[in-house]
């Protein structure tokens, strides 16, 4: 999990406005979400951020399919932002000030998109034009299978034709009608613009041409850029990577993962960096990083605090740090495997999933395991950010709030002998409305194994609590932990096609973290039948229909229908989703509120404050 998330860029205007006001009126600045920063704005300075666990290894923004290192986005996003900037403050919406387009219009039943680019410049003074978009499109058109961010059926294969009527206008002729919100928020928000005038070549010394316009040329350019993108020794020196359109340029990169940014002096966006330099320093473990924070060292200005260490926050505050919480953009869950023998038959019964969800004390988990730093997990859509996506049902706490009595009633009403703190058994096998259900035999015990990712204390605590509260309804849970990578490598997507592959027989319930969302928290690719991300094999024609409508239909109101249906159907057992906690030097302003969507913080709006004394 990446520790840092990109700050809301819409905050910039607020910051600057309040800053001006502050300078004029007594050196007290209201920053972001309202935190008060005392003192005057100081131009310049260096901020060092901690990066825990891993570090980037690829700089070309179109990462190949064999590279799953999420830290690469931390490295590149400050230099090559996406066409659609995810997150407006803490809102789940594009940021109008930071988007690379000035307008985006859907016509012809939402099958044609017209994008007008802002008159911004690359760092070398060349204008950003529609040719930069077609460059990206051409590269991906011939190489999308080797692009890590490619999702089946989406960009670029959902684009039939790209027209560029002028240097700042792009017209996308799509393969069908698409829901405008979905297309903008989840499709175009993953597409950067890249400098065709500097990168459309096949060797470092070769001349730039229109290679991308042919299949062979596009493949040659792709291969060249991929090769350069993986050469860590030249990240800071390769002339290719000097041409950027974001607020930052990479000034130093060491193979240890240590790197630094300096301002792009020709940045056209609204938030020109105030700091002189930003340094990213790697730590092998969060323990080492926490010890450094506690040591009073000046090594870290902005750091990550593991949830296990929230009790250290007062000590860190006394060391001169402030605390902020960054919601995780996604949904946390226990994943049921509907295709595992025996247990799969139990998990296919909606009433069993409902009883199990009633037995999860989510509020208690948020309070005791995550110290309050978590989304409550009321349903498929988070509620601590992006409230515009929350249906009234989710805002009210979801359908299945902790209620062991109700869980026991449901199980008893479906032919189970309920044995609290023991193991329930089926006493009425059969398929009637008051029977246990299809395939469940007499005396079948209601028991499951929960496989989960080891190494995170809060997960250990959460799953132990899950085991305890499920037992109140006689649902017997055994726990098994494995290192995350082992867990990933030994479990597979289990659905009608893959069944009965061995990889789907060895797990019943699984918990490993959370599924990421874009700005539009759609169930697309997660809950629809045969979706690659539908690991447990949930299938419902109604769910497919609702997801299709959120993806292709013209209306936004269908989203709540999908959301409430998913909440009711429990394709996953909902869990609280822990936030990330960061600490930052108290004299550093502009850090909050934090944007949950992008891969990095955005230090272009940060600045140090001078003491007002």
């Amino acid at each position: 999990m990446r520790p840092f998330y990109r700050l809301t860029a819409g905050l910039a205007a607020v910051c600057l406005t309040t800053l001006v006001a502050a300078c004029a009126a007594g050196h007290t600045t209201n920053v972001g979400s309202g935190s008060v920063v005392k003192g005057q704005k100081e131009k310049g300075g260096t901020v060092t951020l901690a990066e825990v666990g891993a570090s980037p290894n690829f700089i070309f923004p179109l990462v190949p399919s064999t590279n799953s290192n999420g830290y690469n986005e931390d490295l590149t996003l400050g230099s090559w932002p996406y066409l659609v900037y995810s997150g407006d403050g803490s809102k789940s919406a594009p940021n109008p000030a930071e988007n690379l387009y000035s307008s985006l219009t859907y016509t012809d039943n939402d099958s044609v998109v017209t994008i007008v680019l802002k008159p911004w410049m690359w760092s070398d003074g060349v204008p950003i034009t529609s040719r930069d978009f077609t460059f990206v499109y051409n590269l991906l058109k011939w190489n999308y299978n080797d692009w890590f961010s490619y999702t089946t059926g989406l960009f670029p294969v959902n684009v039939k034709k790209v027209l560029t009527p002028n240097s700042h206008t792009i017209v996308l002729d799509l393969n069908r009608s698409w829901n405008p919100t979905f297309f903008t928020d989840d499709v175009l928000a993953a597409v950067p613009l890249l400098p065709q005038h500097a990168w459309d070549k096949t060797s470092l010394t070769g001349k730039v041409s229109n290679y991308d316009e042919t299949k062979a040329g596009a493949k040659a350019v792709w291969n060249f850029l991929q090769k350069q993108g993986g050469d860590m020794g030249t990240f800071a020196t390769n002339p290719l990577w000097k041409v950027v359109d974001g607020p930052w340029k990479i000034s130093q990169f060491l193979s240890s993962g240590y790197y630094s940014w300096v301002p792009n002096k020709n940045y056209s966006g609204p938030d020109k960096p105030i700091l002189n330099k930003v340094i990213w320093t790697p730590f092998t473990t969060d323990t080492a990083e926490m010890d450094t924070l506690r040591s009073g060292s000046s090594q870290i200005d902005v750091g990550y605090v593991p949830l296990n260490d929230v009790r250290q926050l007062p000590a860190l505050e006394s060391e001169g740090y402030s605390v902020a919480q960054v919601p995780s953009a996604g949904v946390a869950e226990i994943l049921p495997n509907f295709y595992t023998p025996v247990a799969g038959l139990l998990l296919r019964q909606l009433y069993i999933r409902q009883a199990m969800e009633y037995l999860i004390n989510r509020q208690q988990l948020v309070k005791t395991v995550f110290a309050g730093y978590a989304d409550p997990g009321n349903g498929p859509v988070p509620t601590i950010y992006g409230q515009e996506w929350d249906s009234p049902l989710e805002k009210a706490g979801g359908l299945y709030q902790y209620n062991p009595t109700k869980a026991k009633q449901i199980l008893a009403a479906h032919g189970w002998k309920v044995v609290p703190n023991g193991t329930d058994t089926c006493v009425r096998p059969g398929t009637g409305p008051t029977d246990c259900g299809t395939g469940i035999t007499a005396n079948e015990p209601l028991k499951f194994q929960l496989l989960f990712a080891s190494g995170t204390t809060s997960f250990d605590q959460q799953n132990a609590a899950f085991q305890t509260t499920e037992a109140l309804g006689g649902v017997h849970i055994t726990l098994k932990s494995e290192p995350f990578n082992t867990l990933v490598s030994t479990t597979g997507t289990c659905n009608a096609k893959s069944h009965p592959a061995a990889i789907c027989n060895d797990w019943q319930l699984e918990q490993y973290g959370y599924n990421e969302y874009g700005m539009d928290p759609s169930g697309s690719n997660m809950f629809n039948t045969d979706a690659n991300g539908n690991y447990g094999g949930y299938s419902s024609p109604e769910m497919d229909k609702l997801i299709n409508e959120t993806e292709y239909g013209p209306s936004s109101s269908v989203f709540f229908q999908y959301e409430d249906y998913a909440d009711q159907q429990l394709p996953l057992l909902w869990l609280p989703n822990p936030s990330n906690i960061i600490v930052y030097k108290s004299n550093l302003a502009g850090v909050t509120p934090l944007n949950p969507f992008s891969g990095t913080l955005n230090p272009e709006v940060w600045y140090y404050t001078k003491s007002s004394s």
Partner: protein, 318 residues
């Protein structure tokens, strides 16, 4: 002596080949799908196929092993799946740092442990001997991580004297000393266990030597005690330590996983551990090979040194 050397080198090559076969088989017996472990839950079958094709994992295991051997003979240890860098580069970056870290801790252990062992031997059976032995055994019994965390809590968090981790921008061995305060605790933690071990070996060896006739003779001849200790006792009592030092050579290469993780020290131990977790086979195989070679070399060096220092061995072989 030359015959001994040739024989040992021949044995060493056979052992290295055995290590290669064994580690290759063991690594591939690890449960799960490598491509999925590296690519994560997003891995589609197409993506898995590309990964397997890129790294040759779709070939039969014997073919993979054969290619691996060919590459190793050409000095190519492969490319790391997760770091995307040649394994030899990763090892070359980390190995010298471990040599410095473990070398310093070994040196510290020796300069404390050997005099301590000698002191105990000279006060054998007294309260002084018991107190020193008890102290070091207590420290020896405590796990590394506990000692590290206690020292960090005292010297870094409470008193702010030392740094609990290394600065992030280290790429060279010299960089380790950019902030020398970061080097103190890892060296001390690693030395603590070794001091106990070296001092006890030294103590036993010295007690044994003190009972030998040549010591009695030297004393009977009126030689000063200091001369007896330095000229006669020390040289003979150090022989077992030579063997232990030789056997500890692999530690220089293998690193120290726990200490490296706690102190954010980018060394071999951490590389090995992270590679095991992420199914990064090329790194695991490369690191194991280097550690295997170091183990064999350590044994060989110990044997040769023993032969040089102890004429009885030399003559027995001859």
């Amino acid at each position: 002596m030359i015959w001994l050397l040739l024989k040992r080198i021949g044995q060493s090559i056979a052992v290295i080949v055995g290590v290669m076969i064994l580690t290759f088989v063991l690594v591939h017996l690890e449960p799960g799908n490598t491509a999925r472990a590296v690519l994560g839950f997003k891995a589609t079958p197409a993506r898995v196929a590309i990964f397997n094709n890129t790294y040759g994992l779709n070939r039969p295991l014997p073919v993979q092993f054969w290619l691996y051997c060919i590459h190793v003979l050409h000095g190519n240890l492969g490319v790391s799946y997760s770091a995307l860098q040649p394994v030899s580069t990763l090892i070359a970056q980390r190995l010298p740092r471990d040599v410095v870290l473990i070398g310093l801790s070994t040196f510290l252990s020796l300069i404390i442990g050997l005099p301590m062992g000698l002191y105990q031997a000279l006060h054998h059976g007294t309260l002084k001997d018991d107190v020193v032995a008890g102290t070091w055994f207590t420290l020896y019994s405590a796990p590394d991580f506990m000692e590290a965390l206690i020292l960090i809590a005292i010297f870094c968090v409470h008193f702010h004297i030392f740094q609990p981790s290394f600065p992030g921008g280290i790429t060279t061995v010299g960089g380790l000393f950019e902030d020398p305060r970061a080097m103190v605790l890892p060296v001390v933690v690693l030395a603590i266990n070794n001091v106990a071990s070296y001092s006890q070996y030294m103590r036993s060896s010295a007690i044994e030597e003190l009972a030998q006739d040549y010591i009695r003779t030297a004393r009977a001849k009126g030689m000063r005690e200091r001369m007896i200790l330095t000229r006669h006792l020390l040289r003979n009592a150090l022989l077992p330590i030579i063997t232990i030092l030789g056997l500890s050579l692999p530690d220089l290469v293998a690193g120290a996983v726990i200490a490296e993780a706690i102190f954010s020290f980018p060394g071999m131990g951490l590389l090995f551990w992270q590679s095991a977790l992420s199914h990064d086979y090329p790194v695991l195989l490369g690191a194991t090979l280097i550690i295997g070679i170091a183990t064999i070399a350590g044994n060989l060096i110990a044997d040769i040194a023993y032969g040089i220092l102890d004429p009885r061995i030399r003559h027995a072989v001859a």
